[in-house]
Symmetry: C2
Subunit: 410 residues, 2 copies
């Protein structure tokens, strides 16, 4: 009999993309939909890196080295050095997006049935890769009241078992925007060393830190063997469609193992590597403009959100996401209603229900994730829509901020 | 304690790439190495498809749809129609190379511990993906004496168990070049229907069939739910580095499941999709030239091989590979020796030991895979090297063809 695999059945559908048909239907009705639901920035990909592809002299687009072109890996060494991360080209495997780096990490370090601890809310696709690798995600809850800071070490200790093999962090964080401080990073180091755990560190948003210092897992001394950096150019250079990432570790056994998985899939995308190589040659001040732009958007969006009755949104230190709690009964219903039944001046807004970012069932029902990936005018219009929607949404639940905040505690 | 996963430990290193350091050392000594070891053609990528990327007006390289751009999938519908394969855009998921299509198939249809039957010798990376998905590969042996024809149905029946979920074929075949005929395809259909098995059909080389008719698994009527087509533009348009493939099935449950894995990794490469789309607009006679060129190379190489004393190479009907049996003790030793200790006119040849393509230990020790991916002059020079090498190789084993042929029987 033809059957679907267990992992295929368990595999979660994307919590964001399940709303896509409703957005398409809204557009067909002539409604403008502001997409704050996905981390797809409207910032231009640097023309210089697109031009590098346009001007390439390729006659046969060959497989690259399975670890990525040596020339690109050398460029990445330079890039990381600028970020005070000291690695060699032989510590780097160029991957198809950050996604493949996550998959290589899971495949190389984790057995079926092993457990990884992830502070929740977390990037929903970690669930997908865990499902593919038959690994169990053990969430520990971070809370909106303190801006989604790292849960206390006691929360980690409580869930560590013989099966625990790794902790995953995303820093600065998707979906919360939280930026881990030095003390938190040192705590993570201590617990990883004490319990012999890997630290998988997803640092896709390193260039976008607004308040406080960016600390890479690779900056932590004395835990070099524990750290696997999962990286991508998607957000850095607004090149999500390139599908170019990196798996970086100084742990030679892990590296050699990941290389075997890399060899099986032959090579990472070739044209994207030309882009990645050119990107490292962008002027050092390249990030000033997008960073300033994201900061401006963050300030606007957070201020607008916190002036809406019943809404609370902590100010995120990095990335381009925020999680807000709303005076609503159910974020999945609300986000669908926004697309299906609401419009304001023939416009509406698409948000990501926060439930999809929690591993613990029932959490996040009054929260949404907003990605400030649109320009200030669009963002203002989106906030107008949200403000109006909250006035008329039939499932509105009256809360004051204090009550609402305590209602999301576990 | 930091440990490497079981699958990571079991994961085979690439049987081809393990020789790479020896090839690099040879080059450093100033020796020209003819690469017949890997399916990287020297044929130019069609300039029109490179130009499509060069002239693209992209300002922000965004994520595409997780199934690939609708416009590209529509083009693929046209492409498949030209090959008498009738599918819709909603039967297609655009993947990162054929590799990802294989992985999606395994993840969606197979549990850890499930078994897939593959006629050996087979594409070595199936082992890698099976290892990642913790699936067991059950080889059934095809033989050089009859040109690696499909093993008899009895051989399949003998190994089918409750755990058997799929058969994988590669048609035309890598590494043997064998092209399955209609009777063989019908036999595969019957056994899949009888035992409720999926047929994973890797048709990366469909354009390169020289003798006999190309029968796609998608041409077999009455087994639509069973077939998963794994495809790639790598060989078709000599665009291996693009990393663009396709997962195609009319089985909706499988499609929906694979889409969840596709969503987790967000999208396939964006620039490559522009190439893929332009490729479908190439003139219908585009393939005439590369096909003629491969045929010329095949004829030359097969003739040269079979005139060498003790060498036997069946004439492959498609793709651009052949497996030859050589009068040698051990192909792994021989291929390394060619790079490490041999040169002729300051040249040598790199071949792929066939042992890496067999699932049954001990098979293929006197065989090598040759990819006729170089132009006729280079191919002739490579054959000169091989001919000379076989005269002086210290591990030469005297056989006549009859003896040698029977020695590879199981």
């Amino acid at each position: 009999m033809l059957t679907i695999s267990n992992r295929g059945q368990k595999m979660p559908a994307s919590p964001i993309r399940k709303l896509v048909p409703y957005a398409e239907a809204a557009r067909k009705k002539g409604i403008t939909v502001y997409h704050l639901n996905i981390g797809q920035p409207d910032i231009a990909t640097p023309p210089a890196i697109m031009d590098a592809v346009r001007h390439s002299k390729i006659t046969t687009l060959e497989y690259s080295h399975s670890a990525g072109n040596e020339s690109y890996r050398q460029k990445l060494v330079t890039y990381y050095k600028k970020n005070n991360i000291s690695v060699s080209a032989n510590d780097i495997i160029v991957t198809t997006g950050g996604s493949e780096a996550i998959l290589f990490g899971f495949f190389s370090c984790l057995n079926a049935g092993d457990e990884v601890i992830i502070p929740e809310p977390f990037y929903a696709n970690y669930n997908g890769f865990a499902c593919a690798a038959e690994v169990k995600v053990v969430p520990i809850t971070s809370h909106i009241e303190n801006g989604f800071a790292l849960p206390p070490i006691a929360a980690f200790e409580k869930v560590i078992t013989d099966k625990t093999k790794a902790i995953i962090i995303c820093n600065p964080n998707n979906p919360t925007g939280y930026l881990y401080n030095r003390e938190e990073m040192e705590e993570l180091k201590n617990i990883c060393i004490k319990h012999g755990l890997y630290l998988f560190s997803d640092e896709a948003y390193r260039e976008f830190c607004y308040d406080g210092e960016y600390i890479s897992a690779m900056h932590l001394s004395g835990m070099e063997e524990h750290v696997i950096l999962m990286d991508t150019i998607s957000k850095r250079y607004s090149a999500c469609g390139a599908r170019l990432g990196a798996f970086v570790t100084k742990n030679k056994a892990v590296y050699e193992t990941a290389m075997k998985f890399a060899q099986a899939r032959l090579s990472p995308p070739g044209l994207a590597q030309i882009m990645g190589e050119a990107a490292v040659d962008l002027p050092d001040n390249y990030f000033d403009t997008p960073k300033k732009e994201y900061l401006r958007r963050r300030n606007l969006m957070i201020e607008r959100l916190n002036t809406m009755p019943g809404v609370f949104c902590p100010n995120p230190g990095g990335a381009f996401y925020a999680i807000a709690s709303l005076p609503i009964d159910d974020c999945d219903k609300f986000c669908q209603w926004l697309l299906e039944s609401f419009s304001f001046n023939n416009q509406t807004v698409m948000l990501a229900p926060a439930t999809g970012f929690y591993g613990t069932k029932g959490l996040g029902k009054q929260e949404v994730r907003l990605a400030y990936v649109l320009n200030v005018d669009a963002l203002n219009a989106a906030m107008d829509c949200l403000e109006e929607a909250l006035k008329t949404y039939p499932g509105r639940v009256e809360t004051n901020k204090k009550t609402k905040q305590s209602s999301v505690k576990v």
